[in-house]
């Protein structure tokens, strides 16, 4: 079924509610519907047509249409179709039915829309602040177009504190984070523990939300944003860089030259290689097996050197611009990359053989952090977490981009639903990545690296793109705008969905399994802003605010 067939299906069932539909090509479907029918249509798509929930987007569209816009993105993975269901809301009545009870995975996305755009999801089960800082005043929504990117609203309380829910009876609270040896970035899990068993938890994250989307909509330009986008993540940055470029390219019907597509594929796979090797190392470190941690990082290192040879940097490759790439792969690099891959493959085979036979690691990971198919479907889990639960999804095959339609590879799945299965999936995917890079090096044709862009990019076009990041699908939603920058850009990193399942994964498990369960989704949170000092002699406490710290560092 292509996008048109899916549209006809929707029309047959819910015709009158559909106001208009855009079909730019066979793989994208944008359906504009009545706000009142939004929930029914989402339910139909998610439950009856069995689509996968991707993300929800809110937007202040007043400069264009005088209205607000809500969009829910779904993916028909078997049909290679990405679908958005959009509804305009009048500016004086910013309420929309929550789809949370039919699509549980929309929980965070709807709270984020409420925080940042100010659209109330009616009937949402847990309307607690998600993204905004604790001292942020109610009623100020930073993603609205009348709020400048650098505004600190009146009434912002630096000392504002987050109110946690009460723990269930009989449980003690174990605070996990914001700083903990296994969290590389700040995030707080308040664990409710009974003895050694975790009975539940509350999550508070978004401590370092950087407002990148707002910057893109108000300060940066199309060609700046890919460089900003790759700073979203320290490990899979290139993914965001490519996804943004592709989203804009699909919106304005532009295509990068074939050689550029091959180079994108190669860099994405290089990134997957180093990310998976890094993760296997970290997972081993979490369960106390440091030897394998060191070995897999040693094996990983030459890949980093190759990335540096190609882009000048171990990370943050600054690869894409709209319509192409900035780095070429020279014949010398090609030959060296082949050698590195050969060595990597041989060494990794030895590691996989050793780990597969190791009873000790399996003891710690089998049956731990279980996420089954139902949870995968409901919360919209992706990447190795989904594939380890037997859900056969992979954007590289399902929504081909770059040169993935011209290479052969297998999508690795496992049936165990546990941490061990995730280890196995990631370990095997390393070999597939090596295979893909080899094919690309073989097939890559000569040609230009960038498609010249003669005219200004048209405004008001919607583009979506999904890229299979090492951690799962990274999805970008772009509406093009004026002044050489997007009108709205929504990034959904894979951890956004996967993290929502962690409370379910750790429930009724041993406290000792918490870290590896969390680690198994390969979480990516994002650096910190305050510090407290106590003068021991006088006992005076002083909290240093972000402002004080900046003054101390930059001032004279």
């Amino acid at each position: 079924m292509n996008a048109r067939d899916r549209l006809n299906q929707l029309k047959a069932k819910l015709g009158p509610a559909i106001l208009r539909a855009d079909l730019p090509g066979e793989t994208r479907l944008f359906v504009f519907v009545e706000p009142s029918a939004l929930k029914a249509i989402c339910q139909h798509i998610f439950r009856d047509l069995d689509a996968r929930y991707v993300i929800s987007i809110g937007l202040d569209d007043r400069p264009f249409s005088g209205k607000f816009l809500v969009a829910h993105d779904f993916a028909f993975d078997r049909d290679h179709v990405l679908c958005s269901v959009l509804a305009y809301l009048p500016a004086d009545n910013l309420k929309v039915d929550s789809i949370c009870d039919v699509v549980p995975g929309a929980n965070w996305a709807e709270r984020e829309i409420r925080d940042l755009v100010g659209i109330e999801p009616q009937g949402h089960p847990y309307l607690k602040r998600l993204v905004l800082p604790d001292g942020w005043p109610d009623g100020v929504h930073p993603l609205r177009k009348d709020v400048p990117w650098n505004q600190v609203p009146e009434g912002f309380d630096e000392e504002g504190e987050f109110k946690f829910d009460d723990p269930p009876e009989g449980c003690t609270v174990v605070p996990f984070g914001p700083f903990h040896p296994t969290l590389d970035e700040p995030a707080h899990f308040r664990l409710y523990v009974e003895g050694e068993m975790v009975r539940g938890c509350e999550y508070r994250g978004f401590m370092v939300h950087r407002g990148i989307e707002k910057l893109a909509e108000s300060v940066l330009t199309y060609d700046d944003i890919p460089m900003m986008a790759e700073r979203i993540c320290g490990i899979c940055g290139c993914v965001h860089n490519v996804t943004f470029a592709q989203a804009v390219e699909t919106a304005v019907a532009l295509r990068a030259p074939p050689r550029a597509e091959y180079i994108r594929t190669i860099m994405l796979e290089i990134e997957r290689l180093h990310s998976h090797l890094l993760w296997v190392g970290l997972a081993c470190h979490i369960v106390g097996f440091d030897t394998l941690f060191m070995q897999s990082w040693r094996i990983r290192e030459p890949i980093m050197w190759m990335a540096e040879k190609i882009s000048g940097n171990r990370k943050t490759y600054a690869l894409c611009v709209i319509g192409g790439v900035r780095w070429d792969i020279t014949p010398e690099v090609k030959a060296e990359l082949r050698q590195v891959l050969d060595k990597l493959e041989a060494e990794w085979r030895a590691v996989v053989a050793a780990v597969s036979k190791d009873k000790n690691i399996q003891k710690r990971t089998r049956g731990v952090g279980v996420a089954d198919k139902t949870l995968v479907k409901n919360v919209g889990l992706i990447g190795p977490v989904a594939r380890a639960a037997g859900t056969d999804i992979d954007c590289r095959r399902d929504h081909p981009y770059a040169a993935y339609d011209r290479v052969e590879f297998d999508v690795i799945t496992e049936a165990g639903c546990d941490v061990w299965s995730r280890v196995v999936v990631r370990m095997k995917e390393v070999f597939e990545s090596i295979r893909i890079i080899r094919q690309c090096l073989e097939k890559m044709e000569e040609g230009p690296l960038q498609t010249p862009i003669e005219d200004e990019l048209p405004a008001g076009r919607i583009g979506v793109s999904s890229v299979e990041a090492p951690r799962g699908e990274s999805h970008h939603f772009v509406i093009t705008g004026e002044n050489n920058r997007p009108h709205r850009w929504r990034v959904r990193a894979p951890t956004y969905q996967n993290l929502q399942a962690v409370p379910m994964m750790i429930k009724d498990q041993q406290l000792a399994d918490m870290t590896i369960s969390l680690g198994s989704i390969d979480p990516c949170f994002s650096c910190t802003d305050r510090l407290e000092t106590i003068d021991l002699k006088s006992g005076v406490r002083r909290v240093w605010s972000q402002e004080d710290l900046i003054k101390m560092v930059r001032g004279r």
Binding site: E196, C284, V287, G288, K363, M514
Partner: protein
Amino acid sequence: MNIMCAILGSLGNVALVLLVAPFFQGVLRKVTALIQSRKGPPLWQPYFDLLKLLGKEDLESGQTPVMQRFAAYLSLATVLTLAGFVPMGFPAPLDGAGDVILVIYLLTLSGICTLLAGLAAGSTYSLVGISREMMTMIALEPLFAVAIVAGAVHTGTFRLDTVLNGSVYASGGFPWSGVVLLAVMLLSFQAFVQRVPFDIAEAETELMEGPLIEYSGPKLALFKYAQMAKLVIYSALFVGLFAPWGSALPFPLGWLCFWAKVFGLVLLVTLVAATHARYRIDQALRYFAGLLALALGALVLASCGY
């Protein structure tokens, strides 16, 4: 004269333990590094680490700083007292001052120090850490006790010099109980010296060092020192109980033979630690329970004269 000998001898043992413990730690780190394809720190790095920690500001933190300080002192003191009761290439210097029962008590006391340290910190993590430490202790202590008691049954005495001289094999005929106990002790040795896979109570990536969470500077140095010394002393006890061969040779040979065996044990500990992932507390307890059953079986054998 005898008393002077005992005092000087035990001081000698204490000095020796203090001197070589960081060296063994250095060996452990270096060998681990080699297994992990790293260069590793120089062998004398642990000495510098301890000196650095000892020279740092002595912060008072945690819920009960006084108890915290006390626990750190007691921890090292216990281990060093033990040094006097363990033969280290020579007969145990404090031979006449106590028997093997006292040794068992001292071993337990060093575990209790960890409990005190965790209680004094008063953090959730340290409390989880000590509850794990408690469980480990309850399951583990009987193992050593059984081995010692089996030796005592064979030799009919609790005297240090007799028991800590391969007494587990002193049965008539083939020493069945001794062999079983040797296996049990080899399998649980890693837990006695609190190394991976049995560093459950400290588990850096889960509990952030558990009971030691509030320790820093000199107090941390004492605890670390105690831990390093423990590795030497437990190894010495093991050698005394299960591998006394060669220790009776004349001075330089016997002495060298003893330390070679201790060195071998340290290498073994390193190898096991570098090739295993940490167990979970329930998995570890099940493992210890199996060993305890075996050990009790061996005790029955021993009391029947095998």
